[in-house]
């Protein structure tokens, strides 16, 4: 069906309407009180205005709008119908006619007619308020970037009957951005009282939207007045607020320099950031929780062991379920306390920057292992010791540029801060490429301070450890930054308090590394249970890289070295049977567990690999604390005890002794 151009239809229609308007106006002059005539005239104007705007007659629309506004006052009785009004209205009608017939040409006189019309109808005391302008889009107020919104709504009881489909509303919201929709069913009555025509449900939508809020409002455009609707912006991150509240800017500025006891370290703040919404819990409660979980894990391991030797299928099922649950509970509990150390590391950038400026040394600061997670309280306590160690590296370790260049090193010194899991420990190292510790000077200084007897015989390691003695300082002059002789002893005390250890290694002219070895206080790990002779031992699974069979031809150490060829690289191995002096016949097919630590890889030759078990680390008694090869003990499912191998120590000693012979007898 072909129809004429709508514009032509409009013209036709407008002509008829204008004729009707003219007739109406003339009739109205005779019967000024005839409301029907007034309404009819008004309706005619209304239609012309509405259609005119739609078909591109904007001048018509704006003129008729003014015309209509004036006439509306007449309709509402604010202004009487006078012959004067009718005359002007007829002029106006003629003007509209002109505009419609001749849209391209200029039709002057419109303003004059409108002025006249307005004067006539505004004789009363109510000046016509200007028509409310289109609300400016609130988009301007919204900032860039997606925002999170929580929209909750419940429709009016009659909305379903009145043609609102809530599913379409939800579709519309979903079209704005990714969202999560939750039905709110609390107001849904029991079936016998349920009226299927009433939307009893409400909805909650968590929406991420780039669009401004108005996009959400538009969805409910038709419903806003009668419905329950709340749109609130969700905080994107709690953390910035928390940080601002807890770490005063000045404190944050000087945190690295003065290392004051701040209530909340950046590390702590970052936990809150990650959690989104945070909850403060006393640390003791977490410790208690951890203890309980530890006991639960032990009990579960025993159950699993009993179930394994039982033929009761139900028991096996329960044991498996419990194992799964307790493993999840363990991870969650541990996760609560764990914080990546990177937050602490980033704090030292400022320290390095300041040191570099104050000491006029160019420093390259390198960090690795930021993802390494450590107990939150431990990270807080590590801040001070690390500040001291870094200061010492920069102040005492790194030479000035001229000396460095003379020694053939780059003018720019490097300080490296790294964290790495080493079995059940985390090793945090501060490494510089400076001059290294000066043994002679340390010795002289210690003698001067009366720390050692002049003729004392000390190993290198013992000598280095002297720098941690109270009152020791080798700096020739006391600088503002370090060298007051307090600091390193504080470091030592703090690390001891965390049941950790400090290792120093230094090479003259090449630099010094201070390594803090800290236990994962969360004393449950995944362990690999192995058997050597009649004894069972646990290797922290985190340290295990792979397991291989010991090749028969590697059985002897006749050439003085024990090496395995692991895909082209030589890995030293240690026969734990020999190390531990195990009795009983060796297994005909020994296995090699390749473990790694910061220092490298080493193979541990064991008789049998028994499997992976959750392992609750118990500290060794003080009597046994000196056993270097073990970091702790654990209780197995059957109640017996297995020692946990200190892989860091084993790897370290294997590598240190490797150039000599008989690695197998190391440790």
């Amino acid at each position: 069906m072909s129809r004429p151009d709508p514009t032509e239809t409009f013209r036709q229609e407008a002509r008829e309407l204008l004729e009707r308007l003219e007739a109406g106006l003339l009739d109205l002059e005779k019967t000024p009180e005839n409301g029907d005539l007034i309404n009819s005239a008004f309706r005619a104007l209304h239609t012309i205005k509405g259609s005119g705007a739609m078909f591109g007659f904007t001048e018509v629309a704006s003129f008729v709008h003014e015309f209509e506004t004036a006439f509306d006052r007449v309709r509402k009785g604010h202004s009487p119908v006078t012959s004067e009004l009718i005359a002007v209205a007829l002029d106006a009608k003629d003007h509209v006619h002109q505009l419609i017939e001749n849209p391209e040409g200029t039709t002057p006189g419109g303003d004059a007619i409108l002025d006249k019309l307005r004067t006539i109808v505004s004789t009363d005391r109510f000046p016509e308020a200007p028509l409310p302008k289109e609300q400016p889009a609130p988009a301007a107020a919204s900032s860039a970037g997606p925002k999170r919104w929580r929209v909750r709504f419940k429709l009016p009881a009659d909305s379903l009957v009145y043609g609102t489909n809530p599913l379409l509303l939800l579709d519309e919201i979903a079209a704005i951005g990714p969202c999560e929709i939750t039905g709110l069913t609390d107001a849904v009555p029991v079936l016998s009282e349920l009226d299927p025509e009433v939307p009893h449900m409400g909805w909650q939508v968590d929406l991420t939207a780039d669009d401004p809020r108005s996009a959400i409002d538009d969805v409910f455009l038709f419903l806003r007045d009668g419905m329950e609707l709340s749109v609130e912006e969700l905080a994107e991150e709690i953390a910035p607020i928390a940080e601002a509240a807890e770490v005063k800017p000045a404190e944050a500025e000087t945190a690295a320099k003065a290392a004051p006891e701040t209530k909340s370290t950046p590390a702590a703040a970052s936990t809150e950031k990650a959690a989104g919404a945070s909850l403060r819990v006393a640390a003791e409660r977490l410790d208690e929780l951890m203890d309980r979980v530890g006991e639960l894990v032990i009990a579960q391991a025993r159950l699993t062991q009993i179930a394994a030797s039982s033929s009761d299928g139900n028991l096996k099922t329960i044991a498996e379920e419990l194992e799964r649950l307790s493993s999840g509970l363990r991870d969650t509990t541990m996760g609560i306390r764990m914080v990546p150390i990177g937050t602490l590391f980033s704090r030292f950038r400022r320290l390095i920057h300041d040191l570099s400026r104050d000491l006029d040394k160019e420093i390259e600061f390198v960090t690795t292992g930021e993802d390494t997670e450590l107990d939150k309280t431990m990270i807080e306590k590590l801040a001070d010791p690390l500040v001291h160690l870094i200061r010492n590296s920069v102040d005492h370790g790194l030479e000035d540029a001229a000396t460095r260049v003379a020694a053939g090193k780059p003018a720019k010194g490097t300080v490296k801060l790294s964290a790495v899991y080493a079995g059940a420990e985390v090793a945090i190292s501060v490494t510089d490429d400076g001059a290294g510790l000066n043994g002679a000077r340390i010795r002289a200084k210690a003698e001067e301070a009366g720390l050692i007897a002049p003729d004392a015989k000390l190993s290198d390691q013992e000598l280095w450890q002297l720098i941690f003695a109270p009152g020791f300082s080798t700096a020739k002059e006391v600088t503002a930054l370090s060298g007051r002789g307090v600091g390193m002893d504080v470091v030592k005390r703090t690390i001891d308090g965390l049941r950790g250890a400090i290792d120093l290694s230094t090479k003259p002219g090449q630099g010094t590394t201070a390594t803090l070895r800290l236990p994962l206080t969360l004393a449950i790990i995944d362990g690999m249970l192995i058997r050597i002779g009649n004894g069972r031992y646990t290797i922290p699974l985190a340290a295990v890289e792979e397991c291989v069979e010991l090749p028969p031809d590697a059985g002897s150490s006749s050439r003085g070295r024990n090496f395995l060829d692991i895909r082209g690289s030589l890995v030293p191995f240690v026969r734990l049977r020999d190390v531990f002096g195990a009795k009983g016949e060796p297994d005909s097919h020994p296995k090699v567990v390749i473990v790694s630590s910061g220092e490298g890889r080493v193979g541990l030759v064991v008789d049998q690999i028994l499997g992976n078990f959750q392992t609750v680390i118990k500290q060794l008694s003080p009597l046994h604390a000196g056993l270097k090869s073990f970091s702790g003990a654990t209780i197995l499912g059957d109640g017996s005890v297995a020692l946990i191998l200190d892989t860091v120590h084993l790897v370290g000693s294997a590598h240190r002794d490797e150039p000599k012979s008989e690695i197998g007898r190391a440790a």
């Binding site: 229609e13 309706r43 259609s51 005119g52 379903l160 609102t164 379409l168 579709d171 519309e172 007045d225």
Partner: protein, 122 residues
């Protein structure tokens, strides 16, 4: 999915425009020139949505809505008002009578299609 939409307007040009626009969007259009005609057409066959003007002779938009909503055929059928100005009072009356939404004239063709999509999903 094609919807059957009833447009009630005393202006033939508006009906024509609505009809052209929505036909192009794949809908079937029924036209009526006033509320009374609109009512008889609305109950004679199932419709998916009604577009109605407010100012009309014989039976105006609000009277139409009141009458139509009393008929069971209107259950769940969205009614969209075509209003020239955003007259809050008229809009409120129409909503109380059972209107679902509104379009302010002048509207663009895609606005009309968008509103129909909003209330019918198509």
């Amino acid at each position: 999915m094609s919807k059957t939409i009833l447009t009630i307007d005393d202006s033939a040009s508006v009906r024509q425009m609505v009809s052209m626009t929505l036909s192009a969007a794949g809908h079937t259009i029924i036209e009526a020139g006033d509320g009374a005609e609109g009512y008889s057409k609305a109950i004679a066959q199932p419709v998916h949505a009604v577009l109605t003007d407010l100012n009309m002779p014989v039976m105006n938009g609000i009277e139409f809505i009141r009458k139509y909503r009393q008929h069971p055929a209107s259950k769940g059928v969205p009614i969209i008002l075509l209003t020239t100005e955003s007259d809050e009072d008229l809009k409120r009356q129409a909503k109380e009578a059972g209107a679902t939404g509104w379009i302010v004239k002048p509207f663009k063709q895609d606005q009309l299609v968008a509103v129909i999509k909003k209330v019918t999903g198509a």
